[in-house]
């Protein structure tokens, strides 16, 4: 049974299941249902930041640090799918693998059109690693820098990697990234502007409201390429994990995540349902919309009514 293999840490079985999840093979999605029941143990640490900031390099150092503590580690690294060809170069692994041992499970995923920094299969791929017994699962986002809210919703601890010279204070103030990070890393800190960036960030962080609980995000300077400062980042991850448990914030985030996964699943099933409707049905509705004989909300209600959802027209 696949589930037994996954629970015992079988890499081949887990890797094949992850592929089935990525490719939406019905049997894999069925197996996932039982896998989910065995998740919730691993700490999920997300890493986002602009392309070239040094996420993968930093991650390589962090993996090594936690491996020295004998932790079981998994990594899900997402790279963008080309909107032109549909293909992708998955090049995070190459940057993080120096000094990383064979027991670290690294899985590269292509975004496959998913916006928000991750991919549709990411959270379920993390679940498989969790069920395998990993203590920590790192998730590295695509690297668009600003739109990566997915990481904050999927991870227990969200790390944002910045570098000096990437714009001024106004750039930093843009919504989303500042509010979502639990740990800030200023990588390539040997470069000019590192100290002033830290000062700007300090001011921003102090000025914002406590959106992510009562935790003041630390700002760590690193030079990941030569493993400087990365042990401090590892220590801060551990501190944050402690904070999450003692403050009750972990329960809250887990509940938020479960709710999100539920909504995503509803969306997926709706998509599948729409595809299975009799041919021509959607085309008819679309034609009526284009001809302005109906409106999108009414058309959506008609579809929902077919599901047998009755009652008040409050929706």
């Amino acid at each position: 049974m696949t589930i037994d293999k996954i629970l015992s840490g079988d890499v081949l079985a887990a890797a094949r299941l992850m592929r089935g999840i990525d490719d939406e093979v019905p049997a894999a999605l069925e197996e996932l249902q039982e896998i989910y029941l065995h998740t919730g143990r691993a700490n999920i640490v997300g890493i986002s930041g602009a392309p070239g900031a040094g996420k993968s390099t930093l991650l390589g150092c962090l993996i090594a640090a936690f491996r020295r503590q004998d932790k079981k580690v998994g990594v899900v690294a997402v790279d963008p799918t080309s909107p032109f060809s549909g293909g992708a170069i998955l090049g995070d692994r190459i940057r993080m693998q120096a000094g990383v041992d064979q027991d670290v499970f690294i899985r590269s995923l292509a975004s496959r059109g998913w916006k928000g920094g991750l991919s549709k299969a990411t959270i379920n791929t993390i679940h498989v690693m969790d069920a395998m017994g990993k203590d920590l699962v790192f998730v590295e986002a695509v690297g668009s820098g600003q739109g990566e809210i997915d990481i904050a919703r999927v991870a227990d601890t969200a790390i944002l990697v910045l570098t000096p010279g990437m714009g001024d204070e106004v750039q930093i103030m843009k919504a989303g990234i500042l509010e979502a990070a639990d740990i800030f890393v200023i990588n390539k800190a040997e470069r000019e502007g590192a100290d002033s960036l830290k000062v700007s960030l300090d001011v921003m962080v102090d000025g914002r409201s406590h959106i992510r609980g009562d935790w003041r995000p630390p700002i760590v300077l690193t030079e990941a390429v030569c493993d400087k400062g990365t042990d401090v980042v590892a220590a801060e991850i551990a501190h944050h994990q402690d904070f999450l448990k003692t403050s009750g914030e972990l329960d809250k985030r887990r509940a938020d995540r479960a709710r999100l996964e539920l909504l995503w699943s509803i969306e997926n099933l709706m998509q599948a349902y729409l595809e299975r409707m009799e041919p021509g049905y959607m085309a008819r509705l679309v034609a009526e919309l284009v001809g302005r004989r109906t409106n999108p909300r009414a058309a959506a209600r008609e579809i929902i009514a077919r599901l047998g959802v009755t009652g008040d027209a409050a929706y």
Binding site: A15, D23, T81, G86, G87, Q97
Partner: protein, 139 residues
């Protein structure tokens, strides 16, 4: 929504050879052909390559070697994949490979050898004809 099934490929250079231009050209060509390519880079041991191929559940492994060590290194990757139960992953190779070694490589389980000068289109067409995402045989 039925997810379109992509071919997943691992491209790596085993051994000490440091000339990666060819491997990168193929990697980019594969991306432009719509495949998902895990580019593993230089100085990989056969164990590291096999391990990555299994973790990434690729359909195809492409190995590049210009230093002459291809018979040992390529054969070793196939051997380890088979030992670990992943013998269904196809392995192909390219680089500086004398004609007389092609037979030896095929006997060792290398499905195809692409010599210098092979048009990229040819490699891509071969892949499309011979490699399917293994999820196409979905249970």
């Amino acid at each position: 929504m039925t997810q379109e099934r992509k071919i997943r490929v691992l491209i790596a250079k085993p051994g000490l050879d440091g000339h990666d231009r060819g491997a990168k050209v193929v990697a980019h060509g594969f991306r432009d052909a719509g495949f998902e390519v895990v580019y593993l880079g230089l100085h990989q041991s056969p164990e590291q390559i096999a391990n990555a191929a299994i973790q990434e559940d690729v359909d195809l492994v492409g190995l590049s070697c210009l230093s002459g060590a291809h018979v040992y290194l390529f054969g070793e990757v196939v051997k380890i994949l088979r030992e670990r139960g992943a013998g269904d992953i196809t392995v192909v190779g390219g680089g500086i490979i004398p004609d007389e070694d092609i037979v030896r490589l095929k006997e060792a389980g290398i499905k195809a050898v692409f010599l210098p000068g092979t048009p990229l289109d040819q490699i891509i067409e071969w892949t499309r004809a011979n490699i399917k995402p293994h999820t196409d045989k979905a249970r």
